[in-house]
Every structure is written in C-alpha cells, then in structure tokens.
C-alpha cells in the first residue's frame, strides 16, 4: 500500500469506528437498559436492539471498520496501525461531545491531547518495515 492510500484507509477506518460507536450509543440510549439483569431481561433488550435502525447501522459500520483494519494489516506494520487507530478515541470523544452533547472533563481533554500528540509522532515514522532489510520469516 502506498503512503497516501494507507492514510485514506486509516482515516476511513477511524471515521467508520467513530460513526459506528455514535450510532450504537444513540440507538442503545433509546432502547434503554434491561429491566432486570436476568437472561430473559437481557434477551428482550437484544431483541429490541436488533430491530433498531441506528443499532444495525452502528453494527455494520463496526464491521466495515474491522474489514478496513484487516486490509491495513495485509501490508502495513501492526506497530504502526495500532497506535494510529487510537485516534478513534479522540474522534469518538469529540463526536460524543459535539453531536450527543456529552460533557468532557479537563482530564479527558488532556488525554485527548496526549493521544493526538502520540498519533502525530507515530505518523512521522514509516508505515512499513523495509522488506529488503527484514525478509518475511
């Protein structure tokens, strides 16, 4: 995968993850918690959730995320992809704040800043170990 293509697939994966979590969170809030934490109680919630459009869309988006993640692993270093994918936390937190109106504490803003700084650092390293220097085992 070329550098440009890698960034596009990474960004799509992070966006699919953020939007998926947003849809799941929104959908599950309207489904509501189980009346009792018993098997029938939980089963009823699962049934309601599976007929909720936002929950289905959220689940599908997370499947898209997993497929894109596997596509990245087919050619890019795991030690590059993993920290880059952590920008999901930043995107999810920001979407929760701006779309769902969730409050973000000062400590959480600090965490968001740290993750962003770390992602920036990892982004500066090459995304694939040189195949010539490191032949496949």
């Amino acid at each position: 995968m070329t550098g440009g293509k890698t960034i596009v697939v990474l960004a799509s994966a992070v966006l699919a993850n953020g939007a998926g979590n947003l849809a799941l969170s929104y959908g599950m809030k309207s489904v509501g918690p189980p009346e009792a934490w018993t098997l029938p109680g939980v089963w009823e919630v699962v049934g309601t959730a599976l007929s909720s459009v936002p929950v289905i869309v959220g689940g599908l988006l997370l499947l898209v995320f997993f497929a894109l993640f596997l596509s990245l692993l087919s050619s890019v270093d795991l030690s590059y992809v993993l920290p880059m994918i952590s920008s999901c936390f930043v995107v999810s937190a920001l979407l929760g704040h701006f779309v769902l109106g969730e409050r973000i504490s000062l400590a959480r803003w600090a965490g968001i800043a740290l993750v962003s700084a770390g992602v920036f650092l990892v982004g500066r390293t090459g995304h694939s170990s040189d195949a010539a220097t490191f032949p496949a085992a």
Binding site: L70, S71, S75, L78, L82, P83, I112, G118
Partner: protein, 122 residues
C-alpha cells in the same frame, strides 16, 4: 486480584490475537485496492488462514473476558489497564513479526497509551 488476572488474560489474548491477524493477513496477500474482486480474493484466503482464524478466536476470548472483568469492576478501572495491551503488542510485533520499531514510534505508542488511559480513567 481476580480482576487483575482477568485483565491479564484480556491483554495477552488481545495482543497475540492482533499478532496472529497481522501475520495471517500478510500471508493472505496485500489488499491492493478496495474493488470487490480484490476483496473477494484476499478475503477468501483470509478466512481460510489458520493465523487469521486463531487471531479472530483470541479476540473473541479477549472480548468475553473483558465483559467478565467489567461485571466485577468499573469501566474506569478496567479499561485503562487493558490499554497496556498496545505496549505488549508493540513488543511482540518487534520480536515476533520483526517489525522495525524506531525510538520515535516507541515514544508515540507510550504517549498514546497514557492518553487512552487518561481518557478512560476520568
């Protein structure tokens, strides 16, 4: 104590699951484009790869163990601990997949892990 043991199982399964997925996908072949024909071909090899299946299985074990840990303690206690899996995975990627982890990449991984722990602990 039991919660820490559960977290340990989550971290190990999650990290080695990712290692197995990465190894399997490198063998399945590069996803050169997102065209359906390419996805079908690589995807077909991927779901028959023992490494990809092992990786997927380990991720499922990790997820179930994670839910068990959550049933015992708060998310803000459990999640920051599981964030250490990124560091374990990076070590394993360095020694098992022979990836070149430069000091810059190490610094980035550690800072990201601290940030993720801070986000989920607060």
């Amino acid at each position: 104590m039991t919660t820490l043991l559960l977290v340990g199982i989550v971290v190990v399964c999650f990290s080695f699951g990712d290692i197995a997925l990465a190894r399997g996908m490198k063998q399945a072949g590069e996803v050169t484009s997102l065209r359906l024909a390419v996805l079908d071909e690589v995807g077909g090899r991927a779901i028959r790869s023992p490494f990809v299946l092992l990786g997927g299985g380990l991720q499922i074990v990790a997820f179930v163990t994670y839910l068990l840990a959550l049933s015992r303690r708060d998310l803000s206690y459990v999640f920051p601990l599981t964030a250490t899996s990124d560091i374990v995975t990076t070590l394993a990627a360095r020694y098992m997949l022979r990836e070149r982890v430069t000091p810059t990449r190490w610094a980035g991984v550690v800072i990201v892990t601290l940030g993720v722990a801070l986000i989920s602990a607060s």
